[in-house]
Every structure is written in C-alpha cells, then in structure tokens.
Subunit: 431 residues, 2 copies
Amino acid sequence: MPVRLDTRAADFKDRFAALLGAKREAAADVEAAVRAIIEDVRSRGDAALIELSRKFDGVDLDRLGLRVTADEIAAAVAACEPRRVEALRLARDRIDAYHRRQRPADDRFTDPLGVELGHRWTAVEAAGLYVPGGTAAYPSSVLMNAVPAKVAGVGRLVMVVPAPGGRLSPLVLAAADLAGVDEIYRVGGAQAVAALAYGTATIAPVDKIVGPGNAYVAAAKRIVFGKVGIDMIAGPSEVLIIADGTADPDWLAADLLAQAEHDTAAQSILITSDAALADAVERAVTAQLATLPRQEIAAASWRDHGAVILVRDLDEAVGLADTVAAEHLELAVADPEPLAARIRHAGAIFVGMTTPEAIGDYVAGSNHVLPTARSARFSSGLGVLDFMKRTSILRCGPAQLAALGPAAVTLAEAEGLDAHARSVALRLGAS
Amino acid sequence: MPVRLDTRAADFKDRFAALLGAKREAAADVEAAVRAIIEDVRSRGDAALIELSRKFDGVDLDRLGLRVTADEIAAAVAACEPRRVEALRLARDRIDAYHRRQRPADDRFTDPLGVELGHRWTAVEAAGLYVPGGTAAYPSSVLMNAVPAKVAGVGRLVMVVPAPGGRLSPLVLAAADLAGVDEIYRVGGAQAVAALAYGTATIAPVDKIVGPGNAYVAAAKRIVFGKVGIDMIAGPSEVLIIADGTADPDWLAADLLAQAEHDTAAQSILITSDAALADAVERAVTAQLATLPRQEIAAASWRDHGAVILVRDLDEAVGLADTVAAEHLELAVADPEPLAARIRHAGAIFVGMTTPEAIGDYVAGSNHVLPTARSARFSSGLGVLDFMKRTSILRCGPAQLAALGPAAVTLAEAEGLDAHARSVALRLGAS
C-alpha cells in the first residue's frame, strides 16, 4: 500500500519531507568503468566500439556494420503495422507544429545612446540522439527528441541505439525515418556517448547529445559535458494528480498506474480534499493492477513510492504541488484553470478530467521529455531552444565609445586589468 | 612568439587542428577530494563550513559569522571610491535594460482540433551565485550574474564568496548590493557549492547555482548537477579578431592583450588577410607588453596559446571563425556587418573598429558570461532564461480526446505500456 498522509496530522510536515527525500534509485557507482570506456573509444575508435558491442550487446558489428543502412530502414518501416506508422506520423506532425511556435526571435536594437545591441539565434550544427535498446526503446521518444532538433535547424542528426543480439525495433527505425534522422548507428552504452562526443573513423563527432539512458549512459553524458552539450540527466519519473470529489476514481487509478508501470522507481501521488475519493482510487488501483501486463513493476512502484495525501482544500494542494515540482501534474478538478494559473513548479500541467497524461506522451504535440525528480524547480522540458544557441551582438560608434568608455576604464582599473583599460583608452584618445 | 599560420601553406589544416586541439589547462584530478568535501558538508553542515574555511581560507568564521551583515555591506560601499560605485551603477542599469528584453513570452493557443496547448515561463525561486575570492573577485562579474537573475524574478539570490584571511573586496560587496543580492556568505570552494545545493542550518538550499570558480568549484558543480541546476562549466577564455588592412595595429594589440592578461591559459587569435598588419600587430603586442602590470601572465598566454593566421580573403576567415567558435569575436574590418551576418558560432560578436571587447565586459549591457573553449557551438551566454523554466500546458475536451485518443492507444500498445493505453481508453469509452 502506498503511504497515506493528511495535512491535518501533527507529523505531516516530517512525513511529507521524508516522502520527497526518499531515494528512489540506487546510485550505481559506474564512474570508473565509464571513464575507462570513454578513454578506450577515444584511443581506439571504431575498434573499441566493435569490441565493446560484442561484449555488452552480444552483437558482431564487424559483420553487421556500425551504420544502419537505408535498405534496413526501409525494410523495418515495411515490416511495421501500417496503423502504427500512421499513428507515429500523426504524432510527428503535431510535435512539429507545436515546436515550430517555440522558435525564438532575433533581436537588434539601438539604445538611447546610439549603441547597437542584440542577439541572434542559430542552430547547433550536429546533434546526437541516444535511444535505449531492448524494451525501453520507445518510438515516441525518438520523435520527441528528434523533431525539435529538426525544427531548430540542426543539419546533422545522428541516432545511436544498441542492438542487443543484433536486433533493432522496427518501429524505432520508422520513427527515426519519419523524424528525419540523418544517420543511425547500432551502438549503445557509454561507448556510444564517447563516439558522439569525440568521434571515430565512422561516426563524426556532434556538438550536443540528448536522450535518456541507463546509469552508464547518464555517467558518460555527465563526463563529456563541456566537450559537448547535453540535455538534462533524466531521473525516475513521476505524476502528481490533484483531484476533487467530481473526479472518476477509475480514470485516476489508470493514470497513477500509467506512471507506475514505467519503472519500479517511478512515483505516483494523489492529492485530494475528498477522503472517499482517496479510498475509491486505492480500491480501483488494486482492481486494475490485477489485469495489467506490467503488474509487477507497477505494483512495486505504487507500494514503495506511491502516496495519497489528504488536504483541507485545493489551496493547500497548490503549495504541496510546488514543493513536489512534479514532472507531470494532472488537475482533475471541476474548475481547473484557476488552479493551473497558481502552479509555479511542474514540468507539464494536464488540465481537466479529459486530459490524461498519456495523451501528452504521444500525440498532443507538446514534448514528453520533461524534468524529473523535482528538477522542474530549475529546468524545462526538451524543446527547440535545446538545439539552438544565442550569439550576442554589440556595436559602438566613436560617440558611444566616448560616452561609455570612461566608466569601462574605471572598472577595468579597479579590477587590475590594465590591458582592458588600455584597449578602451587608446580608442578614446583617438576619437 | 605566437604561432603564425597561413591558409596557403600545405600543412595549414594540420597546424590549425593542432591549435584548436591543444590543451590549455591541465585537468586537475580533484574529484575524490571534492566528493569528500560535499559529503562532509551534507552530514555536518555549518560545522564543516567553518572547519573547511579555517583550513582553506585561513579565516575564523566562528568569530566573524558565516553571513556578511548589512552593516558590513554598508561599510564596504562607503569605503569604495565614489566614481567606481558610479561606474558600477551605470553598468547595472545598462545590464538591467538589456536583459529585460530577454524576458520570454508565455504562449497559449487552440489548435485546429480544439486542443488547448501552450507554455508558461516562471522564475527559479532561489539561486546561488559563486564569486571567486582574491584577485579573481570581479565586481563586474557579480553584476553580470546577479542582474539577469533579478530580471528573471528570482526571489532569493544568495552569494557565496571566500574571504581569504577574513578579507572581502569592498567593490564586490558594493556590486552585490547594487544588483539586489539578498544574502551573502563568506564561504568558498567546493564547500560553498555543497552548502548551496544541500543547505545547512544557516544557508537554506537553492535551486540553481551559477558563477565561475577554480577546479574544485567546477568539479563540485558537476557533481551536484541534477540535485540543482548549474550554468556552464567555464573553461579558459578566448578572443578571435578578424581584421583587414584598415585596422589600427595598436588597438588590436591592446585587445589581444586584454584577453591574454586574464590567465596564462587564455587564447588570443588574430586572423587577417594583410601580412603587413600581422607584423605590425605582433610588434605592437611586444611594445605594449613592456608596460603592462600583468605582463607575465599576458606574455605567457600570448607565447603559448596566441596565434596569427593569414588568410587569402575575409571569406576564408568566416569558416575559420566558425570552427574556432570563439567566446569573443571582434570584427575589425571596414565593412563588418556582412561578415557578422555570416558567422554561426560565437559567444558574442563585437562589430567594427570602435567596439573593443572590453566595452562589453563592463558597460555595454550585454552579458560577459559567455561560452568558452569552443562551447559556443552548443551553448549561449548567461541570460534571463538561465533563471527561468517553462511549464507546458495541455487541455483536451471530450471531442479532442476522441480525435486523438485512438492514435495514443495504438502507440501505447505498441510500446507495451498498457496502463497508458487504458488511461485513454477508459475515457474514450465514457465519452
């Protein structure tokens, strides 16, 4: 059973803090192993990739080749159920439309002194997308990572995906094809991250690496950060549902389990002002678990990390939701907009009863790569800006330099940076 | 002498690659020491801060107190030369005005299906600003980090700065005061980063940590990344100047030295199509070095990392500049705008002869915290967005769920996530 908290209880504050502070994932100490793998790929390149893939994925890349060929991709697409490819195409089009609105505007202006200022956005030239292998290979995630990169204008988008036993998911390849991925390599783990960051004879290096992965992949991304850009380090995922008595317990139970089925470390929390609803949801979760294929994972997540929190009123729920800063926040209440307007920290808000989080996972158009593990306090979901960067632009004429220069000289001298002062003063003397 | 390259030479490609690939900083292996410090602060809090500050900074915080008091700040401001405080105030106002234009717009729209989509930007609640101690304590950097945070709407802005021997720079305190920093603690190093990330009895934790620091600070930021957000890891700084024959060699020499005086690992590069100018600049650098207080640092940087590259024409310079992806790019040519328009990778572009980089360091208004060590390929200078995050918003009514739901169910089933499919299907059955 999940924990049951009540804001009216004397020990609420402590128990809520314990819930938030609980470690949901064991920190695997893979740092040394990952550093060795990265060094190996840096020094031996493709040979290291082939050897490590044989060892970790049981695949002979000498025979199959590192790069997935156009023929293989075409054959994979042909092997998919057409309605699945159609659903991916709908998702692709909607993700594309949503993200086009995120493209940032350049700015160039002249201030009252006549100084010209501004900035210009440009796309990263080459980006790498890590896709996990096996059961965690989600075609929807390929779209969510690849489409924003293409909307940003990334010229070269490279996907890496391990092929355990030589197998790749046809639907993952179909998603990559639909999203416009330019190159696909069947290599995974820390070795794939190293290849993307430093390059090998076959895989040219990229400037930014995105996409989820296991502890080895996460550690490798952390290590190569600086040499290349990375996205956030994804942690265990969570949903927080705020519900009032008008919500349907079966719907809420399904939503809580949709989060729980991802991973035993996932967290599903229900906050409600209605004790009867809380009871009904708990019963519905138990009932639905019985027929869920991923029953074991979902049950463990709900038992170990699930929580039901009773609040006096929805006002109280807002403060708790901001403290949790959940990746996904569902507002299953009769009048959700005023509540939505007051939330400060959440990766995404799903407004109203007929907006289950799962619709956002696939076809709404918004991104499902969202800040996990309370990081919505300081970070955003994946978007077009993750594949662009801003160059600032400054232009002074002689008059502007004359107006601003003396203050710059004063500050440079105060900081003991005399060449800075001189580079301004020489020009002032000349004007 | 700096290296002299010529794009017409047969070995140019190799020598240019060697220049870019050269390691300018020794990688200090401080990881284990930093992990121990972080664990110490997490377990012992203030006591660890006090002990570590005694050890590393030779300061007795039991006596002085961790927090810098309002009286101390007022006394520091009063002790500064008034014209320096005035220059800081001018810089503060201009940085404020420039960054206000970066505040992002929210978006909420209804798509052709009737789905409501959008996003909302909110500020990080609490941010921490690391300021180095000793000679690297730059008041201008305090403004550049603190002002964008306040423009973003950060409610609680905390500064940490080591006080070696108990001393703090009055002008650094004045800058913090002008920028609206809310709390200042005299603690530095990895221990300060740990305190900001995890909190102690005296220092409440923050959500994001920004600001430059030494190898210990950089390693600590890398380790706490995920628990809190961090800005980029700053590497050694660089300037690239593209000049034609109309440029003044003395001005260019001063600009190259302004970069070189920062650090022996700094890099100054001149690209020009005019061999006579190149010779004149080299002579001017030598002459100016003779009277530069930071002569030793600047001479070592210029000798070990400086470069003069002769190109056939300015077209060639654009490609080289994009490959360098310099933190600072000066365009000292007669007609700079067409050149500026073609550059893709640079932290900031300084357009024309009368825009020395140093004016951007202090009073132009744009930010001087810029991507170093080629990271302008994938990252941007510090700005308002670094202190904000985006929450996506989604709302479907029954009709929209009916339109999109079947595709979501198809994809959820394809991914083996049956609770996801159920959370949509239950609602479809009801509508």
